[in-house]
Amino acid sequence: MLERAITSVRTIDPGSEEPPATRARLKDAFPAGAARRMTQLGMLVGAALDAVGPQPGDAIVYASRFGEGRALETFLESFPTPSPTLFQTSIHPSGVQQGLIARQRATTEVFPIAGSPAMVAQALLAALLTPTPRAIFCGGEERGTWLTAHGAASERTFAFALVLSSAGGVADGCGRLALEPGDVQGELTLESWFDLLHSRRPFAGAIAPGWRLTLHWS
């Protein structure tokens, strides 16, 4: 069984907030000039990461099924004169890199994970198998527009970050999680994972074929 304490957690659910409103709300949280070029997902993941207090040496596991949906849409619209800036920001894992670059936060291990039915399980495995004392599991989505109508961008906007620690106590509002192999079938989407964190709901069950998650909150 792989197990770690959740020593810090931050979730952000901006509902139907549009990117300009998110930018206006969060621009002061980033160095001057940085927010102007950041995507909605980049700002939200950056804010969630800031809130859990990354430390030098932390491993970062980032999960997003769709990534930068709005930047991707606008980049596609920019042809036949494609935008270099939008090309850069549309590429996975721009969502987590934007905030880390804005903070000049060098990191040894960054594991960006894209979509698959076992996405949450594999992201947790990546975090739990890192040799570092702390791993930060973060991620999120941003709601798209015309790509959403075709199932190629997210329907929701959200972001989360949590610190998984191999040592130390559990602060109020935090908890523990464990991943163990077993003869089980199941799936936990990134949206459902976010909802568990956001509502601090406990969970015990299969999240991928062969993997069972137990999540406790103090």
């Binding site: 060098a106 039915p117 062969g210």
Partner: protein
């Protein structure tokens, strides 16, 4: 330092490039052949001619189903029969662009079938169905170090006993989306790349590529003895000017090779500043070790390059001969850059590196088991 908990073996490894499988590509590189040729940057929509290396018979424009899928199925047909995608036999997939060319095609043609392959999960699902894989898929996307992440994760799964064997598969096939993006960055131009060559202007080429490796604990004649990652997070497209990021990723691997004789397969896309920083950092970390890179022939195969070039490095280790830096001539950034093929028989192993947007760096040590 970031390293696999213990050495793992590669029980199989092969690649697909426009020059063929690993054996055919290795042989062509030894002959100095270039797969890169000029193509309109936006395919059927035209644009400037830029160096691209496409699979034989494949156009840059996306098709549905993807024209590259049968070639991928043939490549993966060589993988040993296992319940891949089951809990004990996971598949670690990596790519930078997945099927995003299909979204470009959808946007420009309106063809609804293209969307079915456009997202990362849809693209991977297309391959998984074609290959009969289960749902235990870990999908990594970190631009041009993607394949290294999949290898490291697979190594940790196997080392921790969370998997019996892990299949690592990496792919990136070009499209107007990708070529247009790099052209917009002005590093994909009419010139052919000359990695590590000190010349007036830098340039890159882009190429189709796919590769696989089977990671095990004890089967196979080659071992991954160390793996290292570092992320500068300094700038989206530029590295720290003092080369600190290159030095940071090489240090753990250099420590693991102390006293051994190495040769080096670098990232070497053909850009000037990154090429200079990389060549100098390699020369400092591994004094006297010959440095080669193959993107001057194959182009940059993006998220798959780490695994494609690992398969070629494995071939070079087994055959005792490594291709030189095709397309490059003197003057080079360091006197260790190999511009011609060289013998690997006197070496204990090879250090392979990849770099990516965001100042991401990855390195690994491949050696005889």
């Amino acid at each position: 330092m970031s390293a696999a908990a213990a050495s793992v073996r590669l029980s199989a490894c092969d690649c697909l490039t426009p020059l063929g499988d690993a054996a055919a590509t290795h042989a062509a590189l030894l002959r100095g052949e270039r797969a890169l040729a000029p193509h309109p940057v936006l395919g059927g929509a035209g644009g400037d001619a830029v160096p691209l290396a496409l699979l034989p018979g494949r156009a840059l424009d996306e098709t549905t189903p993807p024209a590259w899928l049968p070639a991928v199925q043939r490549l993966l047909g060589a993988v040993a029969d296992r319940p891949w995608g089951s809990p004990r036999f996971p598949v670690c997939v990596s790519s930078s662009n997945f099927g995003v060319g299909s979204l470009y095609a959808f946007r420009h043609t309106g063809g609804p079938d293209f969307v079915a392959h456009g997202t990362p999960h849809a693209s991977v699902a297309t391959i998984a169905r074609a290959c009969g894989w289960g749902d235990n898929l870990a999908v990594f996307s970190h631009a041009c170090v993607s394949a290294h992440l999949a290898l490291l994760h697979a190594s940790r799964l196997v080392t921790a006993g969370a998997a019996q064997e892990a299949l690592v598969f990496s792919y990136d096939f070009l499209s107007p989306f990708v070529a247009g993006g790099f052209h917009a960055l002005k590093i994909l131009n009419a010139q052919l790349p000359a990695p590590y060559m000190a010349r007036e202007a830098g340039s890159i080429g882009l190429g189709d590529g796919a590769a696989f490796a089977v990671v095990t604990r004890a089967t196979g004649d080659l071992a991954l003895r160390a793996q290292s990652l570092h992320n500068e997070m300094h700038h989206v497209t530029a590295n720290q000017a003092d080369g600190a990021g290159f030095a940071a990723v090489l240090a753990p691997v250099a420590a693991a090779t102390r006293g051994a004789r190495m040769w080096l397969k670098g990232h070497g896309t053909g850009t000037l500043e990154a090429g200079r920083l990389e060549a100098e950092a390699m020369a400092r970390a591994f004094p006297g070790a010959p440095l080669t890179g193959w993107k001057g022939s194959l182009g940059h195969t993006l998220g798959s390059c780490g695994l494609v070039e690992l398969a070629l490095a494995a071939r070079a280790l087994r055959t005792g001969r490594a291709p030189g830096t095709v397309g490059t001539a003197s003057p080079t950034f360091t006197d260790t850059v190999a511009t011609a093929p060289f013998a690997t028989t006197g070496c204990d192993g090879v250090v392979c590196t990849s770099n990516a947007f965001g100042g991401a760096h990855a390195a690994l040590l491949l050696a005889h088991a």
